[in-house]
Subunit: 144 residues, 2 copies
DNA sequence: CCATATCGTAACAATAGTGGTTACATAAAC
DNA sequence: GTTTATGTAACCACTATTGTTACGATATGG
């Protein structure tokens, strides 16, 4: 096991909402698609609502729906909504500042990690929920 | 806390070996620079030796040294030596294949994660230990 | 050959993150 | 007011990470 599945599940959830655009979808229905417990879904949706990607409604006939058009929601938006700012282990990292290497390495690492992270996020920003939805609905190549 | 500090500490370790190039450096000395236990350092070095980035020698006068010139070791080499292949949570991810979204989302996620990962790794590959060592030895800007 | 320094690695505990589950309060619809 | 659904707290089981002790294996230098 490496890390968590919040981002993967969240993309699934939002893809499901895009797929069912216009409907109110319950956490139970989404949980069935993801194969997990509705509470796990609601926990993620709670973060997605706070990030204004999703609107939730209580009560009879309630459920969740996208807050914007799928074209306006990218994988980066989802990533930032459900993942904490990654620190790449630098919080547990307290080197000996009396050593010339220990005194300077942290700044060098921060710079390198920031560039790597920025590059990864740019790639996530290139994919929108509309792209995902189109792939979901695409016919299998070679069929018919 | 997010994830582990293996990569950050490993870069520190190899930067230290580059800084002390030509010498045999003990795990105890490195541990002092990192502010941790020598066994933690030896565990990481074990992976770095297996990846052929470092050579180790037992016994009196033993220790560790770089296996190649710093210019030939990149942060990506270090990353791959000490981090498992990231799966971004897809191992714990077993959606309901009876749902049209659940049946197709995993492939879409794999593609997106692969692109993001590749982009991040390309950025890590742009930095060599020689670059790190030059930054370590650089004078503060504005001084003299 | 023996004492010493050093690595290599197993074993264990403490801590923390993750995901699943139950429970229950809150709110909206009819 | 009954029903449906969210919102969230609390708890458990599981796993990863780090620090630590312990000890065997190996190389060096007398």
């Amino acid at each position: 096991m490496t890390g968590n599945s919040r981002f993967a599940v969240s993309v699934h959830v939002l893809a499901y909402l895009a797929y069912k655009a216009g409907e109110q979808v319950t956490s139970a229905e989404i949980a069935s698609s993801v194969s997990t417990n509705p509470v796990v879904i609601r926990r993620l949706l709670s973060a997605l609502v706070k990030a204004r990607l999703v609107l939730g409604h209580k009560g009879v006939g309630g459920g969740f729906g996208l807050a914007s058009a799928p074209a306006n929601i990218t994988l980066l938006d989802i990533y930032r909504a459900v993942e904490p700012q990654p620190d790449h282990g630098l919080d547990r990292f307290a080197p000996n500042h009396k050593c010339p290497v220990g005194a300077r390495i942290e700044t060098i690492l921060r710079t390198a990690f920031f560039k790597a992270q920025t590059s990864m996020e740019a790639e996530l920003a290139r994919v929108s929920l509309e792209d995902v939805n189109q792939q979901l609905k695409a016919v299998c190549p070679g069929k018919h």
